[in-house]
């Protein structure tokens, strides 16, 4: 059954059809939640809450991008949680073991076949990026995650954020401005393939 069929079945109350949609989109939703909240536990809560809300309000989906619709729900759930907490999310990003050392869980590693030093550099870069994202206001952070991390275009990001395209442009530009001082220090951590690709495109 294709996505539209699953959605229609879910609207009729078919829980199995909805759970298939959950499996297809949970990485996307969890990534958004984690990048916005900055810690695992809060991201899990926001993700679960988003899917529950999506199931209960499936009849409010009126077509268009289902991905964007889900991202909007999880973004709002994160906004609500951040407002409740009234603080910016902070590191550590990974759970701590008995010695308070960060534990690398399999879910965090994109490629288990990496060399150890590459894995360490990637992990450090990931942490650095998240630290820099945490320094942004939630509105700027949301925009840069939607477009630069999740790969949405400006129009779709505007629908998710409930803001005009002009606002999307402005927030994204300001987010990137503020990130450059923080991120560029870790430029050398970026895998060479990415750096070479960038230099070759000039």
């Amino acid at each position: 059954m294709d996505e539209s069929g699953l959605i229609e079945a879910a609207r009729r109350g078919d829980l199995d059809a909805f759970n298939r949609l959950v499996l297809a989109y949970q990485d996307l939703v969890y990534t958004q939640a984690y990048r916005m909240m900055g810690d695992v536990e809060a991201a899990e809560d926001a993700t679960q809450e988003a899917f529950i809300s999506a199931y209960q309000h499936i009849n409010s989906y009126r077509g268009g991008s289902f991905r964007g619709w889900l991202l909007r729900i999880v973004t709002n759930a994160c906004y609500d949680e951040l407002r409740r907490r009234k603080r910016r999310p902070t590191i550590p990003l990974e759970p701590l073991d008995a010695e308070d050392e960060e534990v690398e869980s399999p879910g965090w590693l994109a490629d288990m076949a990496e060399l150890p030093e590459e894995s360490a550099m990637r992990a450090e870069l990931r942490r650095a990026i998240q630290r820099c994202l945490n320094e942004l206001s939630v509105e700027f952070r949301t925009m840069v995650v939607l477009i630069d991390v999740q790969g949405l275009d400006y129009q779709e990001a505007a629908q998710v954020a409930g803001a005009p395209v002009g606002t999307v442009k402005s927030r994204l530009a300001r987010a990137r401005m503020r990130l450059r001082d923080c991120l560029l220090a870790f430029w050398e951590l970026l895998p060479s393939a990415y750096r070479l690709k960038n230099e070759g495109s000039e």
């Binding site: 879910a10 609207r11 009729r12 109350g13 829980l15 909805f18 759970n19 959950v22 499996l23 949970q26 990485d27 996307l28 939703v29 969890y30 990534t31 984690y34 695992v40 899990e44 993700t47 679960q48 899917f51 529950i52 199931y55 209960q56 309000h57 499936i58 009849n59 409010s60 909007r72 709002n76 869980s105 879910g107 965090w108 994109a110 490629d111 870069l125 990026i129 840069v144 630069d148 991390v149 999740q150 400006y154 442009k169 402005s170 994204l172 530009a173 300001r174 990137r176 401005m177 990130l179 450059r180 991120l183 560029l184 870790f186 430029w187 970026l190 990415y194 750096r195 690709k197 960038n198």
Partner: protein, 290 residues
């Protein structure tokens, strides 16, 4: 000297990276980039930031977030109220517009009413006063032929006192009616006057007391039967006339308590309440459905 870039420059560079500039804007920016090194450096910095962010893989969910069987029994939310949200918003907007129109209409067309509104009451009061003035006269004139007949029939002094007696009998002997006049208490009036009051000739006519009326009758006795009635009537009218100015203020004071809460006010209040409630409900359900 390093030139500080404006916010607009950063925004243009960021949009240029994503291909979000129009062809004209892109051409203009590229021309500036050719001549300004600071813009080139800024563009390169933004490019690296974007690369670093896009180099990050999508995170894998640490567990499955599928819903358990307990959600199957709950069912999918129908959200009937959410569908009402746009309609409620429309209702709120319409009620607000109507409220404004009613207020404007009342101010434009109701400005004449305060001058006019008392007029009917004034007219009623005046007409009551005219009736008051007339009715004693009418009464007297009605009685006058009878009196004249009686006087002619019995041209004696005792007939005149009998007239006075008759008048007082008519006043005292059951042709009167007791009315509860605000501010004056229970007063006796001749029945026709009392009827006029009850029919809306408000305020009640100022009629001299029956004993005073009878006393005037006896004091103004004359051989001419018609002349007998008129002076008494005129005296009664003259006596009642000074009291007329006292009536008008009573009429005005009785009117004023109902001046604010007229039907227009109820309409305005209802529209305002409808606009506020429907607007609040529409906003609340729309926020909940997000």
């Amino acid at each position: 000297m390093k030139k500080q870039l404006r916010q607009r420059d950063w925004q243009d560079l960021s949009a240029y990276l994503d291909g979000q500039l129009s062809s004209r804007e892109r051409a203009r920016l590229e021309e500036k980039l050719r001549s300004r090194e600071d813009l080139q450096n800024a563009l390169e910095e933004l490019r690296r930031v974007r690369i670093m962010l896009r180099s990050q893989p999508r995170l894998r969910a640490p567990r499955n977030f599928t819903l358990g069987p307990e959600f199957a029994s709950q069912g999918v939310g129908r959200q009937p109220f959410r569908r009402l949200s746009p309609a409620l918003g429309l209702v709120s907007a319409l009620a607000s517009v109507l409220f404004i129109l009613v207020v404007i209409g009342e101010n434009l067309f109701g400005a004449a009413q305060p001058a006019m509104a008392p007029a009917p009451a004034e007219f009623q009061a005046k007409s009551a006063q005219v009736e008051m003035a007339a009715s004693p006269t009418e009464l007297a004139l009605q009685k006058a032929p009878e009196q004249s007949v009686e006087l002619e029939a019995e041209p004696q002094v005792t007939d005149q006192s009998m007239q006075a007696q008759e008048m007082s009998q008519q006043v005292e002997g059951g042709v009167t009616q007791t009315l509860d006049v605000p501010g004056a208490g229970m007063l006796e009036y001749p029945a026709p006057l009392a009827r006029a009051y009850e029919e809306g000739a408000y305020p009640p006519p100022a009629v001299p007391s029956p004993t005073a009326l009878a006393a005037q009758e006896t004091q103004q006795l004359s051989p001419q039967p018609t002349q007998l009635a008129l002076p008494a009537t005129e005296a009664a009218v003259a006596q009642s006339a000074p009291e007329q100015p006292a009536i008008a203020p009573a009429a005005e004071t009785v009117q004023s308590p109902s001046g604010f809460w007229n039907p227009w006010r109820f309409v305005q209040f209802g529209l305002l309440l409808l606009a506020i409630i429907s607007g609040a409900l529409a906003f609340y359900w729309r926020q909940r459905s997000r």
